[in-house]
């Protein structure tokens, strides 16, 4: 199972990648903004799951979701947003954009697992 982790913070990417490895996901690809993530998805044959931050330079997580949902080859890819944005209207905005689930930072590895399973029931 290939997972794409998108976050402009190297610290967060390391934490998320370590959490995923611990959950048994070994094929993890990283990108530090939405634009690079979309390029990776377009040229690298997509991903089985996208975990993305919201606030990033170049292209935000929300814009990435919109781009993914607007692309025929990628539009069915499950997306889990991991962000500090926790206002109700923000969560609603993300859901409207097409996010499958939403995780607020800081999070525990258990919650990450729970959210991944909510998006892909037999993932781990």
């Amino acid at each position: 199972m290939k997972i794409l982790v998108v976050d402009d913070s190297l610290t967060m990417r390391k934490i998320i990648v370590n959490s995923l490895n611990r959950l048994g996901f070994k094929e993890v690809v990283e990108a530090d903004n939405g634009k690079k993530a979309f390029e990776t998805l377009s040229t690298g044959g997509g991903a089985d799951l996208i975990l993305t931050d919201w606030n990033m330079p170049e292209m935000s997580g929300l814009e990435l979701i919109q781009a993914v949902r607007g692309n025929d080859a990628l539009k069915k890819t499950p997306v889990l947003m991991i962000t500090t944005n926790s206002a109700k209207e923000e969560v609603v905005e993300a859901l409207k954009a097409g996010v499958n689930n939403y995780l607020v930072k800081p999070f525990t590895p258990e919650t990450l697992k729970e959210k991944i399973l909510a998006v892909i029931p037999n993932a781990c």
């Binding site: 913070s9 610290t11 390391k14 934490i15 959490s19 500090t84 930072k105 800081p106 999070f107 590895p109």
Partner: protein, 188 residues
């Protein structure tokens, strides 16, 4: 603030006090505020950058420790397997199990500590938001009062202080040693 800057401000007070077109205090503010603006935002940016760099250094070391513990566990499993085959090493196998258990507990603790480092990203984003709000506020003040802060000289005194504040091990050692040497030579 260097002497030229002080002189310029002092000159500004003299100029405005003679023409009486503006209060002297406003003229001082006009000169000082753009620098204060860029300095504040600059400092916030620098704090977030330095904090992220240092957090990543901690993470790298934690990853190394996790790797070592993983390798250690593999070796212990191999030893345990070899001893077990001989059939007379139950007591050693029990101790090896304890070692493996302790190693696993250490890995769990390190992993928990890594997760706790998320605070850095959260604080970074809060500071970035604060910097943006601050910038907006100062732009509003500039617009309202009719000032333009663009192109002002940036002051980095505090940022440089942060960089010098012992973030690199032994980073100041040579400088301190040189001062000590000079002091000792002078005392002779």
């Amino acid at each position: 603030m260097d002497q030229n800057e002080i002189d310029r401000i002092a000159q500004g007070i003299v100029d405005t006090s003679t023409t009486e077109s503006k209060p002297a205090a406003l003229s001082v503010t006009e000169r000082a505020e753009p620098e204060a603006k860029t300095e504040m935002i600059d400092q916030l940016d620098k704090v977030t950058q330095v904090a992220e760099q240092e957090t990543n250094k901690v993470l790298l070391r934690m990853e190394s420790i996790l790797g070592n513990l993983g390798s250690q566990a593999e070796l212990l499993e191999q030893v345990k397997e070899k001893m077990g085959r001989k059939g007379n090493a139950e007591i050693f196998c029990s101790q090896l199990d304890q070692c493996l258990q302790l190693g696993q507990q250490s890995q769990d603790l390190i992993f928990d500590a890594m997760s706790l480092l998320q605070f850095q990203d959260i604080i970074r984003q809060k500071l970035e938001k604060l910097a943006t709000k601050l910038e907006d506020l100062l732009e509003f003040i500039d617009t309202t009062v009719g000032r333009d802060a663009s192109g002002s000289k940036k002051k980095r005194a505090h940022s440089l202080t942060i960089e010098r504040a012992g973030l690199v091990p032994d980073g100041n050692k040579n400088a301190v040693d040189a001062i000590l040497a000079e002091h000792l030579a002078g005392g002779k």
